[in-house]
């Protein structure tokens, strides 16, 4: 008989990611039985008890150099050993790569990147954006366990109660033989700012930055002044002014920051789709009729090249 919720808790070298705390607290609040934290590749996690984990189970192994195969084997082992009714994971690169494969292996249903979860009778139901946020839909999963990935920043980060949870190894062995592929090299990030999908603050530029130099001299410094991640519209990326990895919108990243500053972005529907859930939106554009102003919390109708440097100065003063 399956019971309880298994939460895959991600970490960087033993330091848990914010999503682990967010998911554990949500799992606890659903009241659907015990909450078990699954930790891959580290023998730690007692502090997860402070966020809602009743117990912590660990699987040792090299998860960094064997993408997919080791992850799938470990989560499969945890499911077979614990029989959870629900499995939650952050919608991270690893989970979005591995969980569909696991779902196919075990014949399970998976809801991708839900932003809400609720208990409905004995089941857990998700709600998720589709069409990059132009519509929402409820997702019901009839398999046991039901698998869900959750978009980061959906529920907020709780404070720890200070409780600690017992940590035990699952006793699974996951090794090189489970590898489907090997990671032979890792290219370090070109900057130290948060990934767009996890960023708390974003400053984005449109095609009217006019050149790569315009992007680098206006958008990047403004972003840096408030620790924001630089983003760009599709037109800006397609013109070659900003890298593909910076694109926000339906064919780029879907973002969910507290503050989104749109510089010289008109607000094409495919861009709005990717950033409309931002909590506060600031728009700066010379065209007062630009659609972005209908979505902005605060708008300034002016030339961003005039606004940008002044705004950077004022923000730096406000934060100092």
């Amino acid at each position: 008989m399956s019971n309880g919720i298994l939460v895959i808790c991600e970490h960087d070298g033993g330091v848990f990611k914010k999503t682990a705390f967010e998911l554990l607290a949500k799992a606890k609040s659903l009241g659907s039985g015990s909450v078990t934290a699954l930790v891959l590749g580290a023998d730690s996690g007692a502090e997860l008890g402070g966020y809602g984990a009743d117990k912590v189970v660990t699987v040792a192994g090299d998860f960094a150099s064997h993408l997919t195969g080791a992850y799938v084997k470990a989560v499969q082992g945890a499911i077979e050993s614990l029989s959870p009714a629900v499995v939650l994971a952050a919608a991270s690169s690893e989970a979005k790569d591995g969980l569909p494969r696991l779902a196919a292996r075990l014949g399970l249903g998976l809801g991708t990147e839900v932003t809400e979860l609720r208990a409905d009778g004995g089941a857990v139901v998700g709600r998720r954006p589709v069409y990059a946020g132009k519509a929402f839909v409820e997702v019901q999963v009839s398999s046991s366990p039901a698998l869900f990935t959750v978009r980061p920043n959906s529920f907020g980060i709780p404070t720890s109660t200070g409780a600690s949870a017992p940590v035990a190894s699952l006793g699974l062995s996951v090794g090189g033989g489970d590898a489907l592929t090997s990671v032979v090299d890792t290219e370090a990030p070109s900057s130290t700012v948060a990934d767009l999908t996890e960023a708390e603050r974003i400053v984005s530029g449109g095609r009217s930055v006019k050149s790569q130099d315009g992007f680098d001299s206006l958008i990047r410094p403004l972003a840096a002044s408030i620790g924001a991640t630089p983003g760009a519209s599709r037109a800006c990326v397609d013109a070659g002014f900003a890298p593909h990895s910076a694109q926000v919108g339906q064919t780029g990243k879907t973002v969910n920051p507290s503050l989104y500053v749109a510089m010289g972005i008109s607000g094409a529907i495919q861009h709005l789709a990717g950033m409309r859930t931002s909590k506060i939106i600031v728009a700066v554009n010379t065209d007062a009729e630009a659609p972005i102003f209908q979505h902005a919390t605060y708008g300034i109708v002016a030339d961003m090249f005039e606004v940008g440097p002044l705004l950077k100065q004022e923000l730096e003063a406000a934060l100092s």
Partner: protein, 263 residues
């Protein structure tokens, strides 16, 4: 080697999405359909491998009704050699795993040695099918790839793995690779290609032709159902500041700090 490209039609990315009156789905009446943008990168990568004589044939695999034929012909016009359309009343209501079962069966039937697919379709945004196809075939996968190199029976793929880190991943063919933006620049169809594509036959395979148990696909096999569609909540009206630029900037920073509390 034969490369299979999974291709889906989706509403164009500049489409406004309206929900039908009952909340059962999207009102598709006014939607202009296109090839899913990420599938275009997958198709282009396959065509480049054929140009480089690494692949001898590119075949498009599409689950869809006859209305998707125009997108399939677009792919043929760009240079795909063949296409099969996978269609059966029993496929209706498939979840991602159902779609993956159909595509995996078609790939096997066509003797495909490498599958390229978009990292996600921009309608359902599920990002599930490529990894599921890989598992069903027992092949390795690399998802969200922006650069691919093949060398004999092995591959090297570059993928964004979160936090700006890029992993370089190796493995053996056959494999499934899902494509991200940045992998290449999709080509346009030339007139000659368009003329040739018009004459191509596009076979349609049903569940029986693919050797699929109808209970394993469609609504009968689905473990995931999507209900209660809705439009996103409207944002409260915002405030357009007025005055000279320096004073507007000062006011904005004050509002961000004291009213919005995001600084």
């Amino acid at each position: 080697m034969i490369i299979g490209v999974c291709l889906k039609q989706v509403p164009a990315s500049d489409s406004r999405i309206k929900i039908d009156g009952s909340g059962a789905g999207v009102d598709a009446s006014d939607l202009k359909m296109e090839i899913n943008p990420y599938d275009e990168f997958a198709l282009e990568e396959a065509l480049k491998l054929k140009d480089a004589k690494v692949a001898k044939k590119v075949i498009v695999l599409t689950v869809g009704g006859s209305d998707s034929e125009q997108r399939i012909r677009d792919a043929l016009a760009r240079g795909a050699d063949d296409a099969v359309r996978l269609d059966d009343a029993a496929f209706a209501g498939s979840d991602s795993l159902g779609i993956a079962r159909i595509l995996a069966a078609a790939a096997q039937k066509e003797g495909v040695g490498l599958i390229l697919a978009g990292k996600q379709a921009i309608d359902d945004d599920n990002s599930q099918v490529p990894a599921m196809v890989a598992e069903l075939l027992g092949w390795p996968q690399v998802t969200v790839v922006d650069k691919l190199e093949l060398d004999g029976g092995s591959f090297k793929a570059w993928r964004q793995s979160g936090g700006g880190v890029r992993d370089v991943v190796t493995g053996s063919l056959p494999a499934v690779i899902s494509a991200d933006k940045g992998m290449n620049t999709p080509r346009y169809a030339k007139l000659r290609g368009i003329m040739m594509a018009k004459r191509k036959k596009i076979p349609v395979y049903d569940a029986a032709a693919l050797g699929l148990d109808p209970a394993s696909v469609g609504a009968a096999g689905a473990k995931v159902t999507q209900v209660n569609w809705s439009e996103p909540p409207a944002r409260p009206p915002g405030r357009i500041l007025s005055g000279e630029v320096p004073s507007m900037v000062k006011e904005l920073v004050t509002l961000l700090r004291d009213e919005a509390k995001v600084l």
